[in-house]
């Protein structure tokens, strides 16, 4: 009965087909919050249960003939495909490089599959691919294989890119969402909300002028610099869709620990703050593409921060809180005026509000 319940089967039903709450897929299923979690747990985990997938990290660390390989895949469907600070191509390379980097691995190889919409301007595609070339070069990864498909006009949003990455994990580390321990300090590599708001700034009806650029960047050298200081890095996550709040909740849930954060400690650019205020959005839930959250042993936290701050991608690195044994799976936030609030996982897609 317990096993069936886990797979979403109602007691008494014989058929093991997982039951999803919605009759149709909605945008919220892709936004990284509760609906996505639902989909992953009830559909994918239910069908493909194995020790690797069960870890539910952004990558899988596989043992092959004595070597440890990091393996990951990600799809990029962002609209618009060109935005301040980057484009879908750069995102596609950096995103996969980062997923590999979050295991402590050195990213080495990428494969890219393109789904192109009929009618896409060739110039746009050239721009996108050139951007990928540059990003791959900067990250030190080789694009070694790929695929291209074209779909009818209206069946794809200009271009979708799926990148799959392979990296080598040579350090004797186990960095995973279930490794956080009470007493650990929670570090953030820099200002949050840039990427999500840069995208918003180009969406119709929500335009604003302002210096908000996507923070898309390859984080593997930052990670290696951190691991040079100490291997007592327990968790690493890049807070993409769903933002920092979602990622911290995932770690708290997987590690069965509580967290206590300080709202005043989060660096947010003035421009991002202004944009969030107008649209009624919370920076803690906005996507980032060039930031990481690290959960580290308390004795190495200060040295870690120092090292991060000397790296170009970690200049504004700070400590945002700590892991506690109390209230397991719950992330608490001390508010700007000293009150307490629970930081929950994001619901569905973050929508601008006027109320």
């Amino acid at each position: 009965m317990g096993e069936e319940k886990k797979r979403g089967v109602m007691p008494g039903e014989a058929c093991p087909v997982p039951v999803l709450d919605h009759k149709q897929i909605v945008l919220g299923h892709g936004s990284g919050g509760k609906l996505t979690q639902d989909l992953v747990e009830k559909l994918f985990l239910a069908n493909f249960s194995n020790e690797y997938l069960a870890q539910l990290d952004d990558q899988a660390v596989l043992e092959v003939n004595g070597s440890r390989l990091a393996f990951t895949t990600d799809s990029f469907v962002v609209t618009p495909i060109f935005f301040p600070g980057g484009d879908i191509g750069r995102l596609a390379v950096n995103g996969t490089v980062n997923d590999l980097a979050m295991s402590g691995a050195t990213p080495r190889f990428i494969a890219a599959a393109f789904i192109l919409e009929e009618g896409l301007a060739s110039d746009d595609l050239v721009r996108v691919v050139d951007s990928m070339r540059q990003a791959a070069q900067d990250a030190g990864v080789l694009l070694v294989t790929g695929d291209t498909k074209v779909v009818n006009r209206g069946k794809g949003d200009q271009v979708f890119i799926t990148t799959t990455g392979l990296g080598i994990l040579e350090r004797p580390v186990k960095i995973s969402a279930d490794q956080a321990q009470p007493g650990d300090r929670i570090l953030l590599s820099g200002a949050i909300g840039d990427h999500g708001m840069a995208i918003m700034s180009r969406r119709e009806g929500l335009e604003f002028e302002g210096p908000i650029e996507s923070d898309t960047a390859a984080l593997h050298t930052l990670v290696q610099a951190m691991l040079d200081v100490s291997t007592q890095v327990h968790c690493l996550r890049d807070p993409t869709r769903g933002g920092v709040a979602t990622v911290l909740n995932e770690i708290a849930a997987r590690s069965q620990v509580g967290m206590e954060l300080d709202a005043r400690s989060f660096p947010v650019r003035e421009s991002v703050k202004g944009a969030c205020e107008i649209l009624g959005l919370d920076p803690l839930y906005v996507a980032n593409e060039g930031k990481l959250v690290a959960v580290v042993a308390p004795e190495v936290a200060d040295a870690m921060l120092e090292r991060m701050r000397s790296h170009p991608l970690g200049r504004e690195a700070c400590c945002i809180g700590q892991v506690v044994a109390a209230h397991p799976r719950r992330v608490l936030l001390r508010t700007e005026i000293g009150g307490t609030r629970v930081l929950d996982v994001m619901m569905g897609e973050a929508l601008p509000r006027i109320c």
Partner: protein
């Protein structure tokens, strides 16, 4: 009903007969309709809701009442042993009924 954010008017323009303006919120600038604040000039602050300025911020009033807030703590510290209820400080411009 509710979400209204203060911003500073950067420029004014007439867009097809409609009084519009660019308003700065921190480092972000966004268009807003200023039709309901005809008295507002460049440099003034407004409260913007759903793309419309619904009120001009009375900066003098804001400064006055905020100063009272800042002083409040100091008075309280001086009167630490005073257990009487403090006489009601009337911050409103309203006549008593």
């Amino acid at each position: 009903m509710c979400l209204g954010i203060p911003g500073q008017v950067v420029s004014l323009e007439n867009a097809g007969g409609l009084r519009m303006g660019r308003v700065r919120f921190g480092e972000i600038v966004r268009e807003a309709c200023l039709e309901y604040v005809p008295e507002v000039a460049e440099g003034d602050y407004v409260i913007v809701h759903a793309g419309f300025a619904i009120s001009r911020v009375d900066e003098q009033e804001a400064a006055r009442t905020y100063q009272l807030l800042e002083e409040m703590g100091q008075l309280a510290e001086l009167d630490q042993t005073d257990t009487d209820t403090e006489p009601g400080r009337d911050d409103s411009t309203d006549e008593p009924r």
